[in-house]
C-alpha cells in the first residue's frame, strides 16, 4: 500500500477530491487554508476541473456550496472557526433546507489561539444546527471520514460538519488513499420547494430536521468511528473526543486499563455513554476545545455520578490538550523536564523587513501625533502586528471588517478623527458594507486600506480585491477627491504623512490606499518564475 505523507488538512482535501466533489469553496484562514490549496494543486481536481477558486468570504463560500449541493453535486466548504461566525446564517439554515448533493463543511478550530482571536469550539455550532459532526483523531481518519462525510450527508439529507483542530490540521502522517469515485450527475431536488424557507415550508423542514435527530443518533451509535473499549479497572470511565484519544493512548502504550469511549462522530453515542455510566464509578471527559460533552453529562445538582473534565478542574479550562496535560488528569506523575534558562527572550511575530505596512504605520503615527494615541481601529491580517512595538499604532482587532464600522461608531460618539486600518482582502471580505454605512451618514472617518495585493498572513493567496478597490469605494459613494493611492516606501514618507494629515482634517469619509505588493508573495512569484 502506498502511503503519502499528508498534513491533516491535506488529507481532508485529498479525501474530498477522491470522494467525488465537484467544487471546494473557502476563504483562507489558519489552520484551514491548506485544504483548499491542496485541492488547487491536486492532479485529479485539475483533470476534472472542479471548482477550486477562493471565495470573497466564508458566507459567500457557504452559500455557493449550498447552491452546488442544490444542483445535486458534492461539495466541500472550508474555513477556520471564526469564519463560521461569518457564515453562520447560511450554515444554520442549510441544516433546515437540507442538501441535495452531499455537503461537508470543514471547520478548523484553533485552541490556544496560535493564530486566532478566540478559541471557540465549532462542535457547539454543529449541535446548534442539529447536523452530524465528524471529529477525526488522525490523518488517515481525516481522509477516510471526509469521504464518509459525503455518504453520511446524502444518507441523512443534511450537511455534515467535519471539525478539526490546529494540531491535526498541521501534523503530517502517512495516509493510504482509496480509489476515487465519480462526481455526481447534475440533478435538481425532487421537491422544488425544499430550499424555500418561507415560514410555512420552513416549519415543515424544521420538523423534518427534528425527526432527523434520531436517524443521526442511530448512525452515530453504529458508527465504526465511535468505539467502546472495555477495561478492567472500573473506578474510572473515560470519554476521549477526536485527537484527545491520541493523548490518552500515548499515556497507555500497552492499553488503557479503564473502560473508555473514543468519539469521532456526533450526536454522541448515547448507549455507549449510558453503559460507561453504569459500569464506572466516575467519568473523565477529554475534549480538545470547550467542555461540550462534560457540560451535557455533568450533573447540575451534584447528585449523580461525578463527571470530570475542563469544568471540574481536572483539565485546564482553556487551551489545547497535550499528552502531559492528559497524563496529569489521569493522576500520573508530572514530568516537567529541564527548565528553560532565564536568559531566554521571547520572539513575537513581526512584520517582515521591507513590508509596505511598516512604511504605512510610520507615516500614520507621525500624522496622528497632534491628535494623540487611541484612535486607530484595525482588523485581521499581517498589519494587526502594528499593535506591537516599535509601531504600537493600532487600538483594536476584533473581527473581519470591524475596523471601519468601529471607527464609524467611535466617530459617531465624537472621537474625531477616527481612523480605520484594514487590508485589501479583509476589505472585500467584510469591509464594504461598513463603508457604505459611513458614506450614507457622512461619518468623519479616515479609512486606510493597506493594500499588498494578497491574503498574506495565511500564505499569500489571491486577494479578491486586486484591481477593484478604488472602483468599489467610488461605487459605494466615497467622493473621488478623497480617495488617494500611495506607494508606501521610505522615499515617499513625507508625501504619505501629508496626505494622511490632510484627510484626517476632512470632515467626511476619506479612503487612503497605500499599495505595494507583499514582499513574501513577490519573492514566491520570482522563485516560481526561476523554476520554470
Amino acid at each position: 500500500m502506498q502511503r503519502k505523507l499528508l498534513l491533516g488538512v491535506e488529507a481532508i482535501g485529498e479525501g474530498a477530491v477522491d470522494g467525488g466533489i465537484s467544487g471546494v469553496y473557502a476563504y483562507p484562514g489558519t489552520p484551514s487554508t491548506e485544504i483548499t490549496e491542496h485541492i488547487q494543486s491536486n492532479k485529479l481536481a485539475i483533470e476534472r476541473n472542479i471548482h477550486r477558486e477562493w471565495s470573497a468570504n466564508e458566507k459567500t463560500a457557504m452559500e455557493a456550496a449550498l447552491g452546488m449541493s442544490y444542483a445535486g453535486k458534492r461539495t466541500l466548504v472550508c474555513m477556520k472557526h471564526v469564519g463560521l461566525n461569518v457564515a453562520a446564517d447560511a450554515f444554520v439554515n442549510a441544516g433546515i433546507t437540507g442538501i441535495n448533493g452531499g455537503m461537508v463543511i470543514t471547520v478548523a478550530d484553533d485552541p490556544s489561539m496560535h493564530s486566532s482571536q478566540n478559541e471557540q469550539d465549532s462542535r457547539f455550532y454543529g449541535k446548534f444546527a442539529m447536523i452530524p459532526i465528524l471529529e477525526p483523531s488522525n490523518q488517515q481518519e481525516a481522509y477516510d471520514m471526509t469521504r464518509f462525510g459525503f455518504e453520511l450527508s446524502e444518507k441523512t439529507g443534511v450537511p455534515v460538519m467535519m471539525r478539526i483542530t490546529t494540531r491535526l490540521a498541521h501534523s503530517r502522517a502517512g495516509v493510504v488513499a482509496a480509489p476515487p469515485v465519480e462526481e455526481n450527475e447534475l440533478k435538481l431536488p425532487s421537491d422544488p420547494l425544499q430550499f424555500v424557507l418561507l415560514p410555512a415550508i420552513a416549519r415543515k423542514r424544521y420538523s423534518m430536521l427534528l425527526d432527523n435527530q434520531s436517524v443521526q443518533l442511530d448512525l452515530s451509535e453504529k458508527s465504526d468511528y465511535n468505539k467502546y473499549v472495555d477495561g478492567e479497572d472500573k473506578s474510572l470511565g473515560i470519554i476521549a473526543c477526536g485527537i484527545a484519544y491520541n493523548y490518552l493512548m500515548e499515556n497507555y502504550p500497552n492499553g488503557c486499563p479503564f473502560p473508555h469511549i473514543k468519539i469521532s462522530q456526533y450526536p454522541a453515542p448515547a448507549s455507549a455513554i449510558q453503559k460507561l455510566e453504569e459500569e464506572c464509578d466516575e467519568i473523565l471527559v477529554l475534549e480538545e476545545g470547550a467542555p461540550l460533552l462534560e457540560e451535557l453529562l455533568g450533573d447540575y445538582f451534584g447528585k449523580g455520578i461525578r463527571v470530570n473534565g475542563r469544568l471540574s478542574g481536572s483539565l485546564p479550562r482553556a487551551g489545547e490538550l497535550s499528552p502531559d496535560i492528559v497524563a496529569k488528569s489521569l493522576g500520573m506523575p508530572n514530568i516537567e523536564g529541564e527548565a528553560i534558562p532565564e536568559l531566554m527572550a521571547n520572539r513575537p511575530p513581526a512584520l517582515c523587513q521591507g513590508c509596505g505596512h511598516q512604511d504605512m504605520y510610520v507615516a500614520l503615527n507621525e500624522a496622528l501625533e497632534v491628535y494623540g494615541k487611541g484612535r486607530v481601529f484595525s482588523d485581521i491580517g499581517c498589519y494587526t502586528l502594528g499593535a506591537l512595538p516599535p509601531y504600537s499604532s493600532i487600538n483594536t482587532c476584533v473581527d473581519m471588517g470591524a475596523s471601519i464600522t468601529m471607527a464609524k461608531g467611535a466617530s459617531d460618539a465624537g472621537l474625531v478623527p477616527s481612523v480605520s486600518v484594514i487590508g485589501d482582502s479583509t476589505f472585500t471580505h467584510s469591509g464594504i458594507t461598513g463603508l457604505l454605512d459611513a458614506v450614507n451618514e457622512k461619518s468623519s472617518i479616515t479609512v486606510i486600506i493597506s493594500d499588498n495585493e494578497s491574503v498574506s498572513m495565511t500564505g499569500g493567496q489571491d486577494s479578491s480585491a486586486v484591481g477593484k478597490i478604488e472602483d468599489i469605494c467610488k461605487g459605494v459613494g466615497v467622493d473621488p477627491a478623497h480617495i488617494h493611492v500611495l506607494y508606501p516606501h521610505k522615499k515617499n514618507h513625507q508625501q504619505m504623512v501629508d496626505v494622511i494629515k490632510e484627510e484626517l482634517a476632512h470632515d467626511g469619509v476619506s479612503v487612503i490606499i497605500p499599495r505595494r505588493e507583499c514582499i513574501q508573495r513577490a519573492a514566491r512569484i520570482r522563485r516560481a518564475a526561476r523554476k520554470n
Binding site: 491548506e34 501534523s171 503530517r172 493523548y247 497535550s322 499528552p323 536568559l343 520572539r347 498572513m457
Partner: protein, 193 residues
C-alpha cells in the same frame, strides 16, 4: 526503534525542509511518522518548532510529551534552549551557532553558548560556515541534519535518499550540494559530539 525529535528555529529559516527529508527517509524505511508543524502567525519571524516522531510502531500523539525527546535540532542557538523541558535526560542538543537576531533584547551570544555548553550532550556547529565551504550557505539546514544524523535512528543512506527525493525537482546540482552539506555536518558531529 523510535526517535522523537524537536526541530527549532525562527519563522522563515526553513526548518520544514529538514522535516521533509526526515519524513521521506522514514517513509522509505516503512516507519510510522508524525510531524506536527507551526503554520500561521509565528511564521512571521516568531519562534517556530516542529515535533517529528518516527517509530516502527504505531504513534499515538502528534506532540512529544515533556522529557521524552531524544533530540533537539535547532538551526538557531537561542531557540535550542526554548524546548529544554521536552528533552530526555540522555537526549542530545544539536544546534547551529549562528544567531538570528530579529529582536532588540537578544541575549549576549557568549551567555547562550555557555548555557548550551553546560548541557550533558550537545553538538554546537557553525552550519552557515560549513555550508559556505561546501558551496552554498543555503544548504545550512542540511548541514544541521547531517550533524544530527548520528542521533537519529535512521540509516544514513536513507537520509541521503530523502534528500534525493525532496530536492529531485531542483536538479542534480542542488541534490549533490545538499548531500555534501549533509556529509559535512555528519563528519563534524562525529568528531565534536
Amino acid at each position: 526503534m523510535k526517535s522523537d525529535i524537536i526541530l527549532a528555529g525562527v519563522g522563515g529559516q526553513g526548518i520544514l525542509s529538514i522535516a521533509a527529508v526526515i519524513g521521506a527517509a522514514a517513509l522509505e524505511n516503512d516507519y510510522h511518522l508524525k510531524q506536527a508543524e507551526t503554520h500561521g502567525m509565528s511564521q512571521r519571524g516568531g519562534a517556530v518548532q516542529s515535533h517529528v516522531r518516527i517509530s516502527d510502531k504505531q504513534i499515538s500523539s502528534d506532540l512529544i510529551p515533556k522529557g521524552k525527546a531524544d533530540l533537539i535540532l535547532s538551526v538557531e542557538p537561542m531557540e535550542s534552549l526554548r524546548y529544554l523541558p521536552f528533552l530526555s535526560e540522555e537526549g542530545y542538543i544539536v544546534t547551529n551557532s549562528t544567531p538570528f537576531k530579529n529582536i532588540p533584547n537578544y541575549p549576549e551570544d557568549e551567555k547562550i553558548i555557555e548555557e548550551i555548553e553546560n548541557k550533558k550532550n550537545f553538538v554546537l556547529i557553525d552550519a552557515d560556515k560549513l555550508a559556505k565551504e561546501v558551496g552554498n550557505s543555503r544548504a545550512s539546514n542540511m548541514v544541521m541534519l547531517g550533524a544530527a544524523s548520528p542521533f537519529i535512528d535512521i540509516e544514513y543512506s536513507k537520509l541521503e535518499d530523502g534528500i534525493r527525493a525532496i530536492f529531485a525537482k531542483k536538479g542534480d546540482k542542488v541534490v549533490d550540494l545538499n548531500l555534501k552539506a549533509l556529509r559535512a555536518g555528519r563528519d563534524f558531529a562525529k568528531v565534536n559530539k
